[in-house]
Symmetry: C2
DNA sequence: ATTGTATATCGTAAATATACGATTAAACAA
DNA sequence: TTGTTTAATCGTATATTTACGATATACAAT
C-alpha cells in the first residue's frame, strides 16, 4: 500500500482486523491448537510438529505474541509458550459480537 | 515467502486462515457491517461511505467475493452487493468450533 | 571459562497486500 | 449511434508477509 489508512476506521474494527490477521495463517492456527491441547508447550515441540523451519516458527510465535494471544516464559534454556486465555476470550467475544451485528436484518 | 507451504496444513485450518484473511482489514469488516445493515448495497454507496478510492473499494469487494462471503449482482449499470448468508454462517460455525477446540484443557 | 542447547534475530529473497490514478467495459438513456 | 454512469481492471509504487540459512544470545552444565 502507498500507506495504510487504517486509522480512518473504528478502533473496534481495527482490533478485529488485527486479531483476524493473527489467525490468517494455518501455521498460527495449528500453533494455537497445539498450545491448547498441551496447555503449554516449549518452542522446540512446536518446531518438531510443524513443517516449517525453527526460524519461521519463531516468527509465527512472534506474530501471535504481538497480537496478545500467547505468552512466552523463559524456562531454563527454553521458552515455554502458553495461550493468553483472557485475551483469547476477548477475541472470541469480539468476533461473536461482530457476527451478531452482521445478521440478516429486514 | 519464498513460496507458501499452506498445503502442508489441514484443509480445515487452511479454510479458517482464508476466512480470517478476508476479515483481516478494517475496510472489509466495515463493508460487511454496512452490507448487513442495508441488507444489500450498491457499490457506489460503499465507496461514498468509506475513506478509500473507488478502485480500492472494488479491490476489497473482490477479496470478500473470492472468500465467498459476498455476492454481486448486476442491477442496471450498477452492481448490487449482498452478504452470502449461508457462507457467513459457515464461517461463523467454523470459528466457533475452533474456539471450542482451543479451550483450557487440563 | 568453555561447551552445548534452545530460541531469537538478522539478512535476504520472493510473494502478497494495499492504495490510487487511469483506462476499459458494460448497461442504459437520449 | 453517442454519451453518461457505474464498476472492474490495469499499471504501478510501496509495504508487509512468508520463508529460511546464518548468526547471535541466553542459559545450563561441566
Amino acid at each position: 500500500m502507498a500507506f495504510s489508512k487504517n486509522e480512518a476506521f473504528t478502533d473496534t474494527d481495527q482490533q478485529l482486523a488485527l486479531w483476524a490477521k493473527a489467525l490468517s495463517h494455518p501455521a498460527r492456527i495449528a500453533i494455537l491448537r497445539e498450545l491448547a491441547q498441551r496447555n503449554a508447550c516449549i518452542c522446540g515441540e512446536l518446531v518438531a510438529n510443524l513443517p516449517l523451519s525453527q526460524a519461521t516458527v519463531s516468527q509465527h510465535l512472534k506474530v501471535l505474541k504481538e497480537a496478545g494471544l500467547i505468552d512466552g516464559e523463559i524456562d531454563g534454556p527454553r521458552i515455554c509458550y502458553c495461550i493468553d486465555w483472557p485475551a483469547l476470550k476477548e477475541m472470541e467475544n469480539a468476533l461473536i459480537l461482530l457476527f451478531n451485528q452482521i445478521k440478516p436484518c429486514c
